[in-house]
Each structure stands twice: as C-alpha cells, then as structure tokens.
Amino acid sequence: MEAGALREALRRESRARTLRALALAAPLALFLLLTFLVPIGALLVRAVDNPEVARALPRTVEALRGWRGEAAPPEPAFAALAGDLSAIDDQAEAGALARRLNSDASGARSLVMATWRALRAPASEGNAAVQAAPPAAGARAPLLAIDPRWGEPRFWEVIARNGARWTPDYLLAAVDLRRDAGGAIAAMPPEQTVFRAILWRTLGIAAAVTLGCLLLGYPLAWWLATLPARTASRVLILVLVPFWTSILVRVAGWIVLLQSGGLVNQGLLAAGLVEAPLALLFNRTGVIVAMVHILLPFMILPLYSVMRAVPPDYLRAAVSLGSHPLQAFRRTVVPLTWPGIGTGCLLVFILALGYYVTPALVGGPSDQMLSYSVAQYANVNLNWGMACALGTVLLAVTLVLYGLYRRLGRAELAP
C-alpha cells in the first residue's frame, strides 16, 4: 500500500519532469522542423517530382505505354493527345506542361502552346476536324496540320519518358547520367557532360580552402592556446571580427586588395618581386584566398578549444625526454589535436562546398562551384527539378563526408 503510493508519486513526478522537458524543447524542435527538416524534405521531393505530364496528359501516357521510340508513335496516341490537350482548361497548367517538355526537348514550348490554343479555339478548323474525326479515322493528320512537328518522335519520347509521377532523370543528369530510350542508365554523351566536372571542381576548391585554413589556422590556434586566458580571449575577438562583417563587404575588400592595381600587386611590384602585376582576381587564386579568409574562424575555433585542453607539460615532457621541439610537437600535440583537426576540416570543407557568393564575385567562369549551377537553374532556367537534384548531390556528398568523419573519429578515439 505504502510502496504503491510511493511508486505512484514517483511516476507522477517523472511524468511531470518529462512534460516539462518536452515543453522546453518543443519551440526549438518546431523551429528546426519548419526551417530545416521540411525544406530538406521538399528539396529531396522536388528532385524527383515530375507531376506535369502525368497530370495533364494521362491518356497520352497510357497510349504510349509499350512504345519504345523506334518507330512512329502509335495511332491512338495522337487522338489521346488531342483529347488530353483539349481537356486542359487553364492556361497556367498548359504553360507548366509546355515548360516541362521544353526543358527536355527544345521547341516543345511553342509546339504545345500552339497546339493547345488551336484545339481550344472554339470554332477553329483544326479543332473541329480533330474532334469530328472518329477515332478510327485517326487524329494524326489533323494534329500534323496544326503543327507538323508532331511528326517528330523526339517530342513523343519526352512525353513517354515523363509519364511517371516521379522521375530519376534530374538526379541522373546531376551526375552526368541519363536513361536511354530503353530506360537503361547510361552515360551522358561527352559533349553534354558538365556536372561531374563542376562537382570535382567544387570538391577541389573546398579541399584547397580546407588545407589553406588548416595551414594558417593551426599555428595561430596553437599560439592562442599558449597565451594566458585573458589575452587569448582578446586576440580571439580579432579572429572573430570577420564573422561580424558582411560577406559582401569582405569580398569587396579582397577585390580592392587583389586587383591588378591593388595593394598586393603594388607591393609586389614595388618590392621588385614581380615584373608585371599578377592576375589574382577573377581566377582560382582569388576564390581560394577570399574563401580561406572567410572560413578561417571555423577552423581556428575547434582547434583552439581542443588545444586549450592539451597541457603544455606534454611538450616539455617530450623535450625533456630528448625530442627536438618540433618533433615533440608532432608527436604529442598533433596526435592529441586530431579531434580538433577533424572537426575544423569537416566544418570548413562542408561550408566551402556550398559557397556561391564568393566564387561568383571574385572567380572567373571556370571557378564557379556547384551552387552556382543550382542558382542558375533556380533563378534563370526556373528548372526546380534540376536545381534540387544538384542540391541533393551536395547533400549526399556532405553526408558521406560526415559518415567518414564519424567512422575515422571513432577509430581515433577508441582505446
């Protein structure tokens, strides 16, 4: 009895505690859901989403089933297309379909819109002809009369290929693959490959920036870690100043410094180190320099926090045991700061992968990274499927890197 009451009281107490914890965590959880998980989910869905053809041309898709694109499309498909198109009431929907088909087969926009208008025009000749014709007589001729391009199989192929509600095409295209007519996955023809090269470039720039940050950040972080705590926190503020400055302002600063008449070149010329101004801007050098500058704090902070925890006695002990100071550093401090090196490199690398503004402003055309293509598709081509597919590739690279880091990290920390 007594024990039962006690247990009940304890349970009530622990439930209250759980509720309180949930209530405290709920706002953040909601925020994360809305600003993080939902957008990522939407991105992933958008990368495979393909509603336009399936929604607007259901009968045509049905009629094309089984057609492999070797011969002319089957006769019923023409009638089905005419029927489907005339059934579209809304100009916007017709426009969406036209845009969708156009992104795979150029010219499809005008073809679809012209045909739709012709079919919808109340008393038009073509309309009457197509609709009057009995199915057996075929809708082929009237459609060709509206626009002879309906005789080209490539438009029908596009319709057939995009008949499914979901498509792997964007994702395949994002890594320079495609489905051939038979539906098998094949490489893009060489003249159309672009994204693999951009992906490698993106990884290369991110790696160079990470290396640059590590080389500059490691000694600085060590110096900071050996300072008295008060001085160190003051110097740390200087390290963090870049955080408080707009990225555009900083990039503009680099443009001023690095341009051919800029401070750096003037200095080099004055010192007689170079004959002619070096090209430092609108090329890879400019991109890497500016990105290293922006991302340096993300390297320094994790390194600093790990190094603070390494007592200077280790270094002294190693030296007293006969190591040259540099060797002592390499054999004691470096192994003990692996976690900081890993975290800093991962942070910088992942952040660098997504860089857009900096390469856009200080890079040349061949220095643009994957996010430039994402922006291009999202803002200029209005091809959200492609934009999201490229975003998904970036996300996948990030996750793979993180997985590697976790695995290496665990191996490193294991006793």
Binding site: R316, A317, P325
Partner: protein, 363 residues
Amino acid sequence: MTSPARSTDALVVFSRVHKSYDGTSFAVRGLDLHVRRGEFLTLLGPSGSGKTTTLMMLAGFETPGSGEILFEGRPITGTPPHRRNFGMVFQNYALFPHLTVGGNVCYPLEVRGVPRAERERRAAQALAMVRLEGLSSRRPDQLSGGQRQRVALARALVFEPPLVLMDEPLGALDKQLREHMQVELRELHRRLGTTFLYVTHDQGEALTLSDRVAVFAGGELQQVDTPEALYEQPANRFVAGFVGDAVTLAGTLADSGEPARVALPGGGVLEGVNVQAAAAGTPVLACIRPERIGLLAPGAAAANTVAATALDATYLGDHVRLRCALPGQEPIGVPLPLAALPAPPHGTPVRLELPARHLRLYA
C-alpha cells in the same frame, strides 16, 4: 661506480644565478648552489619561492637572466633542453595519453634511435624497477595515480640520465600513497646512485628523502644542509620557523659574547647561540625546538631557566602538550612525557629549562 673523491664533487653548479620574469621582481636571486654527484638534493620552500624556476633553468626551459649554470664543469646555458639529457618527472605526470605505458617508457629510447628489441628490453627493465611488470599495454588513463607516477619515473630513468629532476612528483597523491612512494624513491635512489634533484614544499618529505635540503624563501637560498643540521642548526629565523616546530621568544640581545645573552621583556635573561653574530642591543628572536625544553620539578635547580605559568594540557597519545604563558610573549607549547602526568593545573607557576646550546638567537 665512482671513486669517493669524485662522489662528493659537484655535478651541477649554480653560480650567481638571477632570474626575473617581469623585470621588476626576482623569481630567483643570487643563487649559488652545488649539487653533488650521486646525492638526493631537495629544494624546499613555500609557494612562490623559486624552486620550480630553479629546476626549469637547470632543465633548460627557462634561461637565467644572469649568472652561470655548470654541468660537469661546463656551462650549459646554451644547450637546448632536449640535448641536456636529464630525466624529468612532472607533478601531473605528463604521461602521453595517446601512447600506452610501454609507448611512454620507450619514447626517450625511440628518439635516441635505440633499436626496437633493445628498446623493449630496457623499457621492461625500467617498468620492473618501479614494480609495474605486465602493465605495458595499458593506457595511462587506465592506471591509478600511484601507478602513473611510477610510469613517469620509469620514463625519466629508462635512458639512464646522469641527473633526474622532479617537481613535486608526489603532490597529486594522497598521504598514504605519498609516504609509500617516498620509501620507494629513496630505495630507488640508493640502488641507482643517480643524482636526484627534487622539489617540494612539504618539509616532512624533504627531511625523509634527502641527503641534503636547500631551503628557499622569496627567491633566495636560505640554507643548504643535511636534514639533521637543518633541524638542529637552522641558519636563520626563516629556516628555524619553516623546518620543523620551533618555540620562539622575542627579546633584546644583552651580550653578544660566547655564549650570548638575551634579555626577555618580562625580566629574565637566557644564554644562547648568537647564530648571526648580532650586535648587543639588537632585537632578536630566541628559537628552540619544543622537545629541548624541560619542565623543572618544583625545587629543582638548573641553568638557563625562565618562569612561566601553566595554561592547559592537551593529551596527544604519545605525549602531552602543556601550554605555558610567558610575560610579554605568545603562549608556548611544551611537550611533556606521559610520565610527567598529571600536568600542572591551570595557573600554576612553573620553571622551564632552555638549554643554552639549543637556544638559537636570530637577528
């Protein structure tokens, strides 16, 4: 291993060494110190007295502002620390956490290019010496404090350095373990015959371990002597008060002769040793070890006595401590053998004997 003549000559000589960190105050001032070959020398002093600084200058991690440090007669101020070849044990052990015990002990051999087989043999030997056989594959964080301390010791000894420096190596251990390790250190030193330079602020530890103790205060060396001499013949007021218990009486030097005489403020004159050759008329402190004070039986006569009043007695198991009031002085504690019980009750006038050769007068 070394001839008797060589065993007493100096391995390390500090000669007029000054060191200041901030340019305004001295961490070490005018240090003259000889470390003899094969001895266990302890630097003893309160916190901030310059012990660590002295050790670090010898290890090469700090440079003297002026003066010279000689090792085997040669100046070593220009030798970088990694070439000095001294073993070193740190207070917090400084075992490398990413290496095993074996890896730690092998480290100094590895950087000296000792071949692998030989390295492992010597590491095993060093671990056996500190009685840690079989723990070679553990990580330092899997060891107890005492075991870590021994690994640090093995690591500092494995390359057979001519000199081992230790900065409060037992400071992080609890009392029992510390006493146990003191015995082992002493034993290790006896067996190896290596010169040990040890730093502590614990006077009991210094007296237990050392052949000689160097007492530091405020960056200055006060006295270097054997534990016994340090205890029985402190060179100055500071050493008398810092090493062991001392009963102190303030007075004025009445006669600077041999023996000297001190006049106490409450009347009464005592004879004592004028350690620092103070002139008559200077205020002095008369110091004596409590166990040298005798309580005279009523009616007994003795030389060099002083009148006091019994206050109270504390029973301490092996003896009784009687607090006595002297006119114009702080109360003093006089140890009495248990045979002297019962102690004189509160308010009883007593006479205390302070033998003249144990009463030391400091300016």
